[in-house]
């Protein structure tokens, strides 16, 4: 089944106002910025964003007014610390109120894994004694039915959608991933459906040559959008390195609300699509992020 479509159609078809969406599940790599920017351009509203470490994508979506709620362990700028739009929204309701459901990396991952497995909760030994748990809707102390110990119960967190940027996949959405995986696999299985952006679509023979490299099966996926540099400024191993400077520039420019609005107009609202965004960043700059050396995986034989 061919699920390849323009990113614009993937977003208009599968990202609904009010949806609960995981993005940035790679933690600090493979962040789906191209998809996030398209969500901003299509002015989606009242989204609940789910993540562990959010990179600056959450900050951009919050500043653009797309977000009503964040469920995450860390919302900042992975290059420079503070995420100003997040702070303005939480502290001063600018551009609007933002509800925050705090987690640790582990509790948000377990909440997704519970949903991925179809169980209402999972137990853990983390979180005990942390103020994160106080009055939490999804985290509560439980008593172990086997040992009587005190444990943390982590309630399932179902997703409407996971938006995931991958190195390569076939047209049916069977995706090869490499590099650190973060909470990507849990989010994919916890979601009602998945939208993939990818550096390249490959023939299904490439995927089937290495089934252990397939970490997201196509039957979870509804749409595949080809978006080279789709994780910029975050890296996608072997395709694009981190644009470190971008994080510092964003940090400096978004310190004020007006600064952010200028950034947003120039980089997102004022660019028609991801190609136009990349042109705005600068083709030379972007091409300079391509890996300079190849490091190929040792051969593996599936022969019979």
């Amino acid at each position: 089944m061919d699920k390849v479509m323009p990113l614009r159609d993937a977003v208009s078809g599968y990202v609904r106002d009010g949806a609960r969406i995981a993005m940035g599940t790679g933690l600090e790599s493979c962040i789906p910025f191209a998809a996030g920017h398209e969500i901003i351009r299509q002015r989606r509203r009242d989204l609940t964003l789910v993540g562990a470490i959010s990179d600056i994508l959450f900050d951009q979506l919050i500043g653009a007014g797309c977000v009503a709620r964040v469920i995450a362990a860390w919302v900042g700028n992975v290059g420079a610390g503070i995420a100003y739009n997040f702070r303005r929204a939480v502290e001063s309701e600018v551009p609007g109120p933002l509800a925050m459901e705090d987690h640790s990396n582990m509790t948000v991952a377990l909440a997704l894994e519970a949903a991925a497995r179809g169980v209402p909760f999972l137990p853990s030994r983390t979180g005990l004694g942390s103020d994160i748990v106080h009055g939490h809707r999804r985290l509560r102390e439980i008593t172990c039915p086997f040992t009587g110990e005190r444990l943390l119960g982590v309630g399932a967190l179902e997703l409407d959608l996971a938006v995931i940027h991958v190195p390569r996949c076939d047209a049916a959405g069977n995706a090869h991933l490499w590099g650190n995986l973060g909470i990507t696999l849990e989010a994919a299985r916890a979601a009602r459906t998945v939208v993939l952006t990818c550096e390249e679509v490959v023939d299904e023979a490439v995927i089937r040559s290495d089934p252990n490299r397939t970490l997201i099966p196509g039957f979870l996926v509804s749409a595949v959008a080809v978006a080279p540099f789709g994780s910029h400024p975050s890296p996608t191993q072997g395709y694009v390195n981190r644009d470190d400077r971008f994080y510092d520039e964003y940090h400096a420019e978004t310190r004020t609300r007006d600064g952010f609005l200028g950034w947003l107009d120039r980089m997102v609202l004022g660019t028609a699509d991801h190609d136009a965004y990349l042109a705005r960043v600068g083709r030379t700059r972007v091409e300079g992020l391509r890996p300079r050396t190849a490091r190929l995986a040792a051969p593996v034989n599936y022969g019979l």
């Binding site: 933690l27 790599s29 705090d102 640790s104 990396n105 582990m106 005990l128 004694g129 981190r242």
Partner: protein, 249 residues
Amino acid sequence: MTPRQIMVVAAAREIRDGEIVFVGMRLPLLGFAVAKATHAPAAVGLFENGVIRDTPPAGALITMGDPPNIAGAVMCTTLLEVMSHLERGRVDVGFLGGAQVDRFGNLNTTWVEEGGRRVRLPGSGGAADIAALSRRTVVIMQHERRRFPERVGYLTSPGYGTGGRWRSEVGLVRGGPCRVITSLGVLGFDAESGEMVLERVHPGVTVDDVRAQTGWDLRVASPLSTTPEPTIEELAVLRRFDPDGTWAG
């Protein structure tokens, strides 16, 4: 030699050979590199994004997800799999930072007061997990009075809570901070009460300097010692991994 170099080397010395280390970024990452290259060649580093390495990264890093931290890693997997080693009790030592640390080693990375205003910080990330589940933790902080309140306003990552047997009372099965490495000295914790104790001051720093930057009546070990200076070997390794002094300059 800079205070940050002293901090990095002090961090390195907290890692024993063969240990499983939850590394973190910046100073502790450099500390891990120094330890590996000197006294702890068999140490293994875990990163919560899913990376397991037993060599320093292949280049400079801003985040643990940067390509030089992936290339040449021993293993790349999920956050939950790495965290399973932590929860199972396989992680010997975890490094933590934060906006604030209090008298009982509790960390706050969520909400602080600044000038009467509540300021929202990025949040826990993996810190609450590492603090709860490592066999021991080492905290690395700039030693400033606003960062050392008597009691954190928001307890993100548990130290010894209100002291004594608090950790086991709330259900934590192990761990707690063993060391706080600051820009002024090195602090430990009283085994009974869980209270922070100044154990070492960096060369040229006095007890009064430390007390002036600490928000409570800080206990001081007797005898108090001076942090040993980095060895030539340690400094050489540090220069190799941080040639521009970006992190430890």
